[in-house]
Symmetry: C2
Subunit: 207 residues, 2 copies
């Protein structure tokens, strides 16, 4: 798991991502990866400690890609927090739908697999959340958003987006519902939930 993968590591990662996209997670095996790249299965173990380490490398790459696409949104809307947040939400969902194979490895693998994901890498993953938190803080500063704790609000916003992406990827959304309408509704609901409610507010009791 070096910062810059070697040539064969690069080939292995690409083949894995390819098979993942084509045949899904359950149909992926070390032997199939090996066959695809024309090496024996054990060769992979010379370049990655085990299957988990291979996945972790993919997660790392995915987090980096996600960050780059979110960061470009971040800079593009640097002076408009609400629009920026909306664009960040859109981009996040789009990333999940454009690269489901990355998204699955990054966020949908079962907990048992993920537990071994090294803490150091979590830091890189957290940068993505920071972009959301930043937008929220800027929004609060400008008075166009109202949140108590930007980290918590960033996490709950992320949860809404994550739920949206996973339901779409897993095809659990009612077939009669238009995907675009669903996505727009999810983003709107999350955003409206963050706007300030200035006046005597409707009966939303605290429980």
């Amino acid at each position: 798991m070096p910062d810059r993968p070697t040539d064969l590591q690069r080939v292995i990662l690409d083949a894995t991502r390819n098979l993942l996209a084509r045949n899904g997670y359950t149909n992926l095996s070390m032997r199939k990866i090996a066959k695809k790249i024309g090496y024996s299965a054990t060769t992979i173990y010379l370049h990655f400690e085990n299957k988990d380490a291979l996945f972790h490398a993919l997660i790392d790459e995915g987090m980096h890609r996600l960050y780059e696409s979110l960061y470009s949104v971040h800079t593009q809307y640097s002076d408009a927090p609400v629009e920026r947040l909306r664009a960040l939400c859109r981009q996040y969902i789009q990333f999940g739908l454009d690269e489901p194979e990355y998204y699955e490895v990054m966020f949908m693998l079962h907990p048992e697999h993920m537990e071994r994901y090294p803490a150091a890498k979590y830091r890189r993953a957290r940068r993505n959340l920071d972009l959301f938190a930043q937008a929220l803080e800027d929004g609060v500063t400008e008075g166009v958003m109202a949140v108590q704790n930007s980290r918590v609000a960033a996490s709950s916003t992320w949860a809404a987006l994550h739920g949206t992406v996973t339901l779409l990827i897993a095809q659990r959304v009612d077939a009669r519902i238009d995907h675009e309408a669903f996505i727009t509704a999810a983003i709107d609901q999350a955003l409206y939930g963050l706007l300030p409610r200035t006046h005597a507010d409707p009966a939303v009791p605290k429980t």
Copy 2:
């Protein structure tokens, strides 16, 4: 997959759920289930077509349990849509956290597994969403909520809850964030996003 499981089916289902809760999905095998109940592995195939069918039966049970707990909330708050919706959200998340083994099988297994999930059973699963849609429609009728399409809004609300549960189960929420605060923030954000915004509204541009 009969409506009422036979005795041994019942024993198998309970053992499976138990092992699932204790050791997780990746450590579950037909042979381990068999060992736990004191039969040979092939015996399970006399009572369930295959591993997927066994999971489908668990999903079915889980959907039923979820419905029962949501329905009790539904009747309890029959005349207060906003409070009802808030309670439904709480109950949904609580179900996921109380019975993660059910929740994982129901909503977190990989798409490839789920595709074979028979369409007829989806109908039973959809009843859960209907309770959310009902609360939204009642809220709109009473003028305390504002949504364009109750099925879409129910789905996006579900997405937010689903994201919240899965991130918690998979332990992907930043360790420094209090779970209760996270859950409350997620529910509040979803609910506030459904309330009517009566006055000339802040700059939330349509994109």
